[in-house]
């Protein structure tokens, strides 16, 4: 298969500033590669991620969305990720319920020290999205260029 023809998914990763964004930095400074399909958006905390952002990403053509935060119990703001955990569980369950492949969304807790985990997670996630193919069900053809 030629590189040009390979499906290049669009993947949005929301990373909390304190743990996961730092974990991604560590993955970077440790040169732990993962595909360029992943683009990171920095948010202060996983609890800042509004379901609207996730749906918006899908609307605009994202093929996968991953939210990374501090491990439960280690949130910089003490409790933010606990709220995020409930919100995302319910949202993902709803997306699954309406027939969206549940592999397109993921939450992973990655600490600032887990560069390896960050890179592994992203590699896995990209593999998963590649296997799922383009996001047709939630995509909005109108918005895709």
């Amino acid at each position: 298969m030629s590189v040009e023809n390979q499906f290049k998914p669009k993947i949005v990763a929301f990373c909390c500033n304190w743990c996961s964004y730092a974990g991604a930095d560590l993955a970077g400074s440790s040169r732990l590669t993962y595909p360029a399909d992943v683009k990171i958006i920095r948010v202060p905390c996983s609890c800042r991620v509004n379901p609207m952002f996730i749906l918006r990403a899908f609307e605009k053509g994202a093929d996968g969305v991953i939210i990374c935060g501090c491990h439960p119990g280690d949130c910089h703001y003490s409790t933010g990720n606990y709220y995020a955990r409930r919100r995302m569980t319910l949202l993902f369950s709803m997306l699954d319920y309406i027939g969206i492949e549940n592999g397109r969304t993921r939450v992973e807790w990655v600490s600032a020290a887990e560069g390896v985990k960050f890179s592994q997670t992203m590699n896995e996630f990209v593999d998963k999205i590649r296997s799922l193919g383009e996001n047709v069900r939630l995509g909005d053809l109108r918005c895709k260029k």
């Binding site: 500033n17 970077g28 509004n50 918006r56």
Partner: protein, 662 residues
């Protein structure tokens, strides 16, 4: 729409090697709002910053995007540069094209494409930025040091010497920590007590230092400059004001079978005890689990013999609430449990001991009064084998992945001291590598080999085999000779891995300080901010941050103190302006946001609002920006979108999403 300037950094070849920097500049030049774009070798350098300042002024920029390393690295640098050029510092956005791009991608086309997208997202965001102004918060001029070992003591002394109040919280009955258990210290073989005890006394006597021993941190709230901490003073059952430290109670106590923590369980102590003779404070504690009075209600001998009337069986835990501007964590370490290493027969033979236990054997105040003897039969050993790296450098979950760092040196010390005092004892060390990075360290190790005749064998031990006659057979390998060795020994000493004190995870959670999978506290930057936690106002001292020896610990303790002093010296702190803000016209007053706020920063007021001509009294949310830390939990809870986060607004994040998914 802003007038945006974009500055793309080469970072030498760090970025430029995998990202076509010129191409990035070209690709984003026509993005909405962009009126200036350029690249430079090192944007963070003085010259680079000057370029930015010049462009801000000449092009009347209202917002800038720097495509460079992580914002965690240089966001502050570029914000300051912008501010000096007259731009609000919060009109700066960073596109992380190094850690998140050039360093992890190999294909230049792919990496360049990604860099362009990241830059576009930052440009989209900065177009929606608004100037923000930090507020101010006060600084409580008092520091808390958690842990009273050498790290905590040194930090406390340095902070106190600068004129600030310091409280030390130590969970055991005395300060002193692990260092007080050591006999001699490398690489100069000073007596540990001789150099530690004066520091303990100095700390206790310092008018600015207040020591809470037998106490634990129960609860922490607040934030940098203004922490509120609950300290639990566990019931000592002895009145500290009345006790004269005469020691009669300990002598007369009939319950003398409790294992001595200080002697690593090799000896026993009484139920009412001070851990060691030089304990500070010299006030005993009743260990209620072993006290006959507490177990059966009968006894009370200590109360009878106490002339000062200091024994108080009714004493309860006491909670002290205090405010602090800075908190230093100095919780130290312990050796790992050896349950997973039964091949070394630690649990099967009394003559297999850890190095820390050997310290107590060698120490004149220890269980054997400093005589080197086998713990099984009290006989003098003739052959001692040291095994290195027990539980360190492990890839499986039996041990620790890291090098414990201090073992090579203390083993050389032990070997040398034994050979010095008992020249007829043969000492063999099984090692994988001898690691001696430190001043005079390798020389020290070489002395052990060359002057003291310690037999170093490169190779590990597979099994320690207890023999019917009470001796030990050590089955190891000599890798240089390619031979399996069966070595007769009377004593085996295990260089047991060290791990952070198990309580540190609980403390890190209370402090919201980040911690790694090995339970070491994470530093704000591995190289440039090694004594600070990423959580503002929390500093790291000693082994809680990573394995280190005494000189390194003392150095880091001083560094942590300086960082804390730097904070305490300020009268006011600028607060993070990226706080939540409620749009009162949209607010339903439903309290959902207040329910999730971890800081209690949201309150409700009944206000008259003018909603497009309709004037009415409404219950609306009001954010106290001094308390708000900007997590954003409230913004997602709010169904109407009335609550938004400045600097990370809904529209800003959506604009980034759009730019990425375009």
């Amino acid at each position: 729409m802003q007038r945006v300037g974009v500055f793309v950094c080469h970072c030498g070849s760090n970025i430029a090697a995998t990202v076509d920097v010129k191409r990035v500049v070209e690709a984003i030049s026509n993005e909405p709002g962009v009126v200036h774009a350029e690249d430079y070798q090192y944007m963070c350098s003085e010259a680079g910053q000057a370029l930015i300042a010049k462009a801000i002024k000449e092009k009347a920029l209202t917002g800038i995007v720097v495509c460079s390393c992580s914002p965690r690295m240089h966001e502050a640098t570029f914000r300051k540069a912008a501010e000096r050029a007259g731009l609000n510092p919060y009109m700066v956005e960073i596109a992380n094209i190094r850690e998140h791009c050039s360093w992890i991608h190999k294909d230049i086309v792919e990496a360049t494409e990604k860099a362009v997208i990241l830059a576009r997202a930052a440009i989209a965001k900065v177009n929606l930025n608004t100037p923000l102004k930090p507020g101010e918060s006060r600084v409580t001029k008092r520091a808390l040091v958690i842990g009273g070992g050498i790290a905590g003591i040194q930090t406390a002394l340095d902070i106190a010497d600068a004129g600030y109040e310091v409280d030390i919280v130590e969970k055991t009955p005395s300060i002193g920590g692990r260092m007080s258990q050591l006999d001699k210290t490398f690489p100069t073989l000073d007596c540990s007590a001789c150099i530690l005890t004066p520091k303990m006394v100095e700390a206790a006597a310092h008018e600015k230092i207040n020591i809470y021993t037998y106490s634990e941190v129960d609860k922490v709230s607040g934030f940098v400059g203004d922490f509120t901490v609950d300290i639990r003073k566990k019931a000592r059952s002895v009145d500290m004001d009345k006790c004269t430290g005469c020691g009669v109670c300990q002598e007369k106590c009939p319950s003398k079978k409790a294992p001595s923590e200080f002697n690593r369980g090799l000896g026993t102590r009484s139920a009412i005890y001070t851990p060691f003779a030089q304990a500070i404070p010299n006030v005993p504690v009743i260990d209620r689990e072993n006290c006959i009075k507490f177990k059966t209600g009968k006894c009370g001998i200590c109360a009878k013999v106490c002339q000062a009337g200091a024994i108080d069986y009714e004493q309860k835990d006491e909670i002290i609430t205090e405010k602090y501007g800075a908190i230093v964590v100095a919780t130290g370490f312990d050796t790992i449990k050896l349950d997973n290493y039964d091949e070394y027969a630690y649990s099967q033979s009394k003559d297999v001991i850890t190095s820390l236990e050997l310290e107590r054997v060698m120490n004149a105040a220890g269980t054997t009064k400093g005589h080197l003897e086998r713990l099984s039969d009290g006989k003098a050993p003739k052959d001692i084998v040291f095994i290195q790296c027990v539980g360190s450098r492990c890839a499986d979950d039996r041990g620790k992945s890291y090098c414990s760092k201090i073992c090579c040196m203390y083993t050389a010390k032990h070997a040398m001291l034994i050979r010095d005092k008992y020249p007829d004892v043969n000492v063999t060390v099984f090692y994988i590598d001898v690691r001696t990075p430190g001043k005079n360290f390798d020389e020290f190790y070489r002395r052990a080999v060359e002057q003291y005749g310690v037999n170093y064998i490169k190779g590990q031990v597979g099994k320690v085999i207890p023999q019917p006659d009470g001796s030990l057979l050590v089955q190891g390998v000599d890798l240089l000779d390619n031979k399996q060795i069966l070595k007769q020994a009377d004593m085996v000493v295990l260089a047991t891995a060290i791990e952070p004190d198990p309580d540190v995870r609980k403390i890190a959670t209370m402090l919201t300080a980040s911690i790694d999978t090995n339970n070491f506290l994470t530093e704000a930057h591995a190289k440039l901010r090694p004594v600070e936690s990423p959580t503002a106002g929390i500093f790291l001292s000693g082994v809680c941050q990573g394995p280190k020896d005494i000189p390194e610990t003392v150095a880091q303790a001083g560094a942590a103190a300086v960082k804390a002093i730097g904070l305490l010296a300020k009268d006011k702190l600028l607060t993070n302006p990226c706080t939540a803000k409620a749009d009162e016209l949209l607010c339903n007053g439903c309290s959902a946001c207040a329910n999730v706020c971890p800081y209690g920063a949201i309150s409700y007021e009944v206000k008259e609002v003018n909603d497009h001509g309709i004037r009415e009294q409404r219950r609306v949310a009001v954010v106290n920006s001094a308390l708000c830390q900007g997590c954003g939990a409230c913004t997602v809870t709010c169904p109407s979108g009335a609550m938004d986060l400045q600097g990370f607004s809904n529209l800003q994040i959506i604009s980034e999403v759009d730019a990425i998914c375009q």
